[in-house]
């Protein structure tokens, strides 16, 4: 088990290095940081001095190694646009994005899984058909359109929920949370639904397909033949057997929710990392873009590790593959 975790972490290192290389390459190939920092008027001597100060005269690998060394310590330099440390900017914005992603994932799982189970069990009922039709809408409508429609209905027409921002937040150490105020919670609803809707429909369809598959198996028939209650058969035996693929997809989707909250954050002017990223792209603020890229890669690596560990808990057959010594074979 421990050996498995260590081997997975070792495997993640080349992935992170590759992403770091791409991030680093942006500095060299997207715009010229020297001319950006010098502004309009400068002498050649000033230019050379700045190049030396920034270490840009060093060989490529030395520069890259310095970049990695700094990145490991969370040091990504100053934002060109805001002249503040990038790490500070991201730490400031991360809670907003993570809370939004958490709520969106909760909406997707808590609504998507039961809907998937229901449509799998009662596939011919009118409600199942309604769910499936609804899921087509969720899959096919683009996120920004859903966001704008929700704003139109719930903010403009009904006036129930705010159309933008996080509402009031409470500072807990460096973490700013919107969970503790009414306006913060209200502000979370529309963006979470917008961001989670696609994942919800995806998870619902996945759970449904898996349920249909599992309900045909002999062990479900045998569970019925043993006289187990429907609830035990459906939610114990059947649902648990659908979990491995569902965990895989849900994990990847959670990474996607965090990484691609950009559109939702833009529509709702949500002060998170996605909004920071899109503003940085507009201003060619390369340190922020590079740091964001690395952070998202890290998020995916961590989620994949967690997903693999969850397999371990869900499916005993996979445990042999983890190198865990278990007697009785």
């Amino acid at each position: 088990m421990l050996a498995f975790v260590i081997s997975r972490i070792l495997q993640a290192i080349p992935v992170m290095l590759a992403v770091a290389l791409i991030s680093f390459a942006m500095f060299a190939y997207v715009g010229d940081p020297v001319s950006i920092m010098l502004g309009q008027d400068f002498t050649e001597a000033q230019r050379q001095a700045l190049i030396r100060d920034l270490g840009l005269d060093q060989p490529f690998f030395v520069q890259f190694a310095t970049f990695i060394g700094n990145a490991v310590q969370g040091e990504f330099g100053l934002s060109y646009r805001l002249s503040r440390p990038v790490a500070e900017l991201i730490a400031e914005r991360a809670p907003a994005t993570l809370e939004l992603a958490f709520c969106a994932a909760a909406v997707a799982l808590l609504v998507g899984v039961p809907m998937g189970v229901y449509t799998g069990l009662y596939r011919n009922s009118w409600l199942s058909r309604a769910f499936l039709t609804f899921s087509l809408v969720g899959v096919s409508l683009p996120t920004f359109l859903i966001g704008i429609l929700l704003i139109l209905i719930f903010s403009v027409w009904l006036g129930w929920l705010p159309s933008f921002g996080r509402g009031d937040t409470v500072q807990l150490g460096w973490w700013s949370t919107g969970f503790l105020t009414v306006s913060g919670l209200k502000a979370l609803i529309l963006p979470s639904v917008t961001l989670g809707l696609f994942q919800l429909t995806l998870i619902m369809r996945l759970v449904r397909a898996e349920m249909l598959e599992v309900l045909r198996t002999d062990y479900i028939k045998f569970a019925r033949a043993r006289g187990l209650a429907n609830r035990a058969v459906h939610f114990g035996h059947a649902l648990k057997n659908t979990l491995v693929p569902v965990i895989t997809i849900a994990g990847l989707q959670l990474g996607g929710i965090i990484a691609f909250a950009i559109v939702t954050e833009t529509v709702f002017q949500w002060p998170g990392m996605g909004l920071l990223f899109i503003q940085s792209v507009g201003a060619a603020d390369i340190p922020v873009m590079a740091a964001y890229l690395l952070l998202i890669a890290l998020v995916f690596v961590v989620i994949n590790l967690v997903v693999d560990l969850l397999y371990y808990f869900v499916d005993p057959r996979l445990r042999a593959g983890f190198g865990a010594a278990r007697g009785g074979h």
């Binding site: 002999d218 062990y219 045998f222 043993r226 006289g227 035996h237 057997n241 074979h329």
Partner: protein, 333 residues
């Protein structure tokens, strides 16, 4: 003694787009307490379907369209799902064909035993666990106290079938429906499993309906045999009579296609042709196109089970009213 299970004129239909298929037609038999009834026949003859109908788990859209099933004198074929569920496992246990797929891979065998017992019997967690270990011992799992926490994939196929047997018996049902319990197992394991089933059924006084296409298993285990053909019972009677001197021409063909151990035969005789599809069951006797003794009446009227002296066979040869009687022409081998 009164029968545990009585099946009267059971009819199972499958509505399809092209019309209704009759999978079982007029199937009647009963099983006495402690008795083992073997049910044999080709694939698709309706053996497993009969078992599924009895435990109330016909695959939709299949449904019981006629007849009745009585368990201890009470009708169980029209019970609501929830009432029938309480009977399954508690009064009728079921054993399926493939032990590799009948156990839930994600739960330990102990947990599956405990949940089955606790569904039907008022047992505390600790008592249920003790009983689970006891059942594993009873079905011959070595080191049961440790193995109770193992997952199905940690057992071999034969051991898994033992676990399945424990699961079917753990709430002490009066009747077991065993659907091809040894077909998926190695030949060397088959004999052990059959011996185990036989022993447990005798010890607990459990009646059993043993569905199989293996005549060897039947000859060794069953008290009586029902031969099924195209969704109907062709012949039913004591195991010795049906195996040694079958009366129905189909039974005769079936028995003569088994290689005898005590003498060499140049060629095994099979039965010409194939069993009809459900959509094309011929008028009269379903076996008439393949029957070597067919005569006019067989193509028109459907025979009911007729007393032949030792067994009852659905064959006009044994009806005194048939104009052409030729039972002497029907010889075994």
């Amino acid at each position: 003694m009164a029968a545990i299970l009585e099946v009267r004129d059971l009819r199972v239909e499958f509505p399809t787009r092209r019309g209704t298929l009759t999978a079982l037609d007029g199937v009647s038999f009963d099983i006495a307490p402690g008795e083992v009834l073997g049910v044999v026949g080709e694939s698709g003859a309706g053996k497993s379907m009969t078992g599924a109908a009895i435990i109330g788990l016909l695959e939709p859209p299949g449904r019981i369209a006629g007849g009745e099933i009585l368990l201890n004198g009470k009708r169980i074929d029209r019970l609501p799902y929830e009432q029938m569920r309480r009977i399954r496992g508690k009064e009728i246990g079921a054993i399926f064909q493939d032990p590799l797929t009948t156990l839930n891979p994600l739960y330990t065998v102990g947990r599956q035993l405990v949940e089955t017992m606790q569904t039907h019997l008022p047992l505390s967690d600790r008592d249920a666990r003790q009983r689970a270990i006891g059942w594993l011992e009873m079905v011959g799992i070595p080191a049961a106290a440790q193995r109770v926490d193992s997952y199905p994939h940690e057992f071999s196929g034969g051991m898994r079938q033992r676990v399945v047997i424990a699961l079917a018996l753990c709430a002490e049902p009066a009747l077991i429906v065993a659907d091809e319990p040894t077909t998926a197992l190695d030949v060397s394991i088959q004999a052990q499993i059959i011996a185990l089933l036989k022993r447990l059924a005798r010890e607990k006084g459990t009646a059993m309906m043993l569905v199989t296409h293996d005549m060897g298993v039947i000859a060794e285990t069953a008290d009586r045999v029902a031969v099924m053909y195209a969704g109907r019972i062709a012949e039913i009677g004591p195991v010795r009579s049906v195996v040694k001197s079958p009366k129905h021409p189909y039974s005769v063909g079936l028995m003569s296609s088994i290689p005898p151990l005590d003498r060499r035969v140049a060629q095994l005789s099979g039965i010409e042709g194939a069993m009809p599809r459900l959509s094309a069951i011929p008028q009269g006797c379903a076996f008439n196109p393949r029957c070597p003794h067919v005569f006019a009446r067989c193509r028109q009227d459907r025979p009911e089970l007729i007393e032949t002296g030792t067994t009852r066979a659905a064959c006009w040869l044994y009806d005194p009213a048939s104009e052409k009687r030729a039972p002497e022409a029907v010889q075994h081998g």
